[in-house]
């Protein structure tokens, strides 16, 4: 079987999560490349409009386990279903969203199946591989590409010997693409009881608190992002005023969040969100590759930095060298006089 399997996550409103649709879009391309099918596994309880939601993104087969024990998500019931399905259907590749669900489930499955799993991939490709030690050749395997080690390198990881080849991908990294809104596939209903074990029920969810929808930096057309170079939380707070004035949202690099300048729901980069705004203004951000992978597809990039050699400058359209605390007020003045 050359099939690709995507683990579908259902969000709090009972819809398929964006990250899962993004993975279906990517999975469709990988499946075409391998000449195989794209399958989607859904473990949930009375999910509405599943077929209408998934087929347009290129899914050939939906494997649907519908059972009250499967919602809300708990590790072991989902583990037993997905693990069982992988054993039955032997996909070449399994993809998960790098969410609190995917990052909980995927490693447990990889451990049980003793297969490879690469976290937070920023690109997935199909290619050949020759093992340098044994000289053995492998055709059409999954390249799992991710930045590593402080962002100074990009590593291509392969799992040549074991199947399936598994990877997690953050939300927003892959593009969501409707192939054909009238596309049809088939749905196979799974009997959850066939897979679930009595001990899967041992953990109880006592209560759940869903946060009100927070900031949506992914949807913003202008992002003003601050890094460690902002120097202090007070300086960082200036960015909200500026962003507000020009109709943008505030983002942050991981260094700024680690320094306590900003909450982590605004984090942009490999371990945060990936954004593609029309305009990205990087303030005091040096531009390690983990940050760049999360913003380099922005339409226009302005970099404000004291360091003329900061890596961010090389992907910026405009660079302003100097003290960000002096430049932001000047930009605000410029905007105000322009609007008059």
């Amino acid at each position: 079987m050359n099939s690709i399997l995507v683990y579908i996550e259902i969000n709090e409103s009972g819809r398929v999560a964006d990250v899962s649709l993004e993975l279906c879009s990517k999975g469709r391309r990988l499946a075409d490349r391998l000449g195989g099918e794209l399958e989607a596994i859904v473990a949930g309880n009375n999910v509405a409009d599943l077929e209408q939601q998934l087929y347009p993104y290129g899914v050939d087969t939906i494997l649907y386990a519908n059972d009250p024990r499967l919602s809300p998500y708990r590790t072991l019931p989902h583990f037993s279903i997905v693990d069982g399905i992988i054993r039955e259907r032997q996909p070449e590749v399994v993809l998960y969203g790098a969410t609190s669900v995917g990052r909980d489930l995927a490693p447990r499955i990889a451990s049980h199946l003793r297969c490879g799993l690469t976290a937070d991939c920023t690109a997935l490709e199909i290619g050949d591989h020759t093992d340098l030690k044994t000289g053995k050749e492998y055709h059409d395997i999954l390249y799992q590409i991710r930045p590593a080690f402080g962002g100074n390198i990009v590593a291509t990881i392969v799992s040549p010997e074991t199947r399936p080849q598994m990877a997690t991908v953050r939300e927003g990294v892959m593009r969501k693409e409707i192939i054909d809104s009238n596309r049809k596939g088939k749905l196979i209903s799974l009997d959850a009881s066939k897979y679930l074990r009595a001990e899967d029920e041992c953990l109880k969810v006592i209560s759940r608190q869903i946060d009100p929808q927070g900031v949506d930096i992914k949807g913003a057309s202008i992002i003003v992002a601050g890094g460690y170079g902002m120097g202090s939380k007070e300086n960082f707070d200036m960015l909200y005023k500026f962003a507000n004035m020009i109709g943008g949202e505030v983002g942050a690099s991981r260094a700024a969040i680690d320094a306590g300048f900003c909450s982590n729901d605004r984090q942009i980069g490999q371990t945060g969100v990936t954004v593609r705004p029309k305009l990205y203004i990087a303030c005091g951000i040096s531009g390690a590759v983990q940050h760049r992978v999360g913003m380099e597809q922005s339409g226009q990039i302005i970099s404000i930095n004291t360091d003329p050699d900061a890596p961010i400058n090389s992907i910026a359209d405009y660079t302003i060298i100097g003290d960000v605390c002096e430049i932001i007020p000047r930009l605000m003045n410029a905007y105000q006089s322009c609007k008059k």
Binding site: E12, T75, L76, S100, V101, R103, D104, L105, A106, P107, R108, A110, S111, H112, C115, G116, L117, A119, D120, Y143, F149, G150, N152, I153, V154, A155, T156, I157, V158, S159, P160, C202, L203, K204, I206, S207, R208, Q209, I210, D211, I246, G247, A255, K278, L279, V289, G299, N313, S314, I315, A316, D317, Y318, I320, I321, G322, E326, R330, N333, A334
Partner: protein, 267 residues
């Protein structure tokens, strides 16, 4: 009431402070130029374990790490903060392990300790951010897992209640022991060292366990036990875009902004 608690820990290069000296001219990593630190979320995990011990004072907290012999530094640190004991799993045969082979080696070591009620670990390590080893150790021990723990709400010798962070908010879960818990950085801050524990334990010998001590299947260790292989590593080459240098003067910035407004990039 008393229970047996194991805390997993990792000594990591401090990737939060990577300077230019961390890379060699050939684009490889100069590990010796990076300070080695106690992985931050592993300290949050230690803190939660010590909170459990406060509620059941006869419990024991044992810290386990895998790494080079110098990783004993973090075992010592954990003991200074209140752990009872710990050891380093160190052997060349562990080298080159990915998360699967790492979790296998650690689970062999934990099994060697006999019956364990609670295992704590950080959600992820800052040198890889994979968050895989915790769930993989839980699977290998065949016990349930609670990931992304943020607060200990209650514990007995039968079960534990935890508030955990999920993508859409938080949830409270309860699981029977034994269970493995991974702890987030948003959990309570780790306590500091106790002076009397430092004085008492500064000459303590930290045991080192080799592969032979944990009865593994040797082909599941290290490089040979790792399904993922690094095919190649590219140092990041930046391709220069057409970059316009804008002078830091009000006049130059005015023209930049008016340009962006004219082109409808700013509304």
């Amino acid at each position: 009431m008393s229970i047996k608690i194991v805390v997993l820990a990792k000594q990591v290069p401090d990737t939060r402070n990577v300077g230019p000296e961390a890379m060699t001219p050939e684009g490889t990593i100069n590990r010796s130029a990076l300070p080695a630190v106690y992985n931050p979320e592993d300290l949050n995990a230690l803190e939660m374990a010590l909170q459990v011990k406060e509620q059941m004072p006869c419990s024991t907290v044992t810290v386990v790490t895998m790494g080079p012999p110098r990783a004993e530094e973090i075992i010592r640190e954990a003991i200074y903060r209140g752990a009872d004991d710990g050891f380093v799993l160190s052997d060349r045969r562990f080298a080159g392990a990915d998360t699967l082979a790492t979790s296998y080696a650690i689970s062999c070591a934990v099994k060697k300790l006999g019956h364990v009620d609670l295992v704590f670990g950080g959600r992820q390590a800052i040198d890889g951010d994979t968050a895989q080893v915790g769930p993989q150790v839980a699977e290998k021990m065949d016990i349930p897992q609670i990931t992304y723990a943020e607060e200990l709400l209650g514990v007995s010798d039968k079960c534990i209640r935890i508030k955990r962070r999920i993508s859409s908010g938080t949830e409270v879960v309860e699981a029977p022991l034994p269970v493995l818990v991974t702890v987030c950085g948003s959990a309570p801050r780790p306590r500091f060292r106790h002076a009397h524990l430092v004085l008492k334990n500064r000459h303590l010998e930290i045991p080192v366990w080799t592969a032979d001590d944990v009865n593994p299947e040797f082909d599941r260790l290290g490089l040979s036990g790792s399904p993922t292989k690094v095919k190649n590593v590219d140092s990041v080459v930046l391709t220069q875009k057409d970059n316009i240098r804008v002078e830091n003067t009000q006049e130059a910035l005015n023209s930049l902004i008016s340009n962006l407004v004219t082109n409808h990039i700013i509304g």
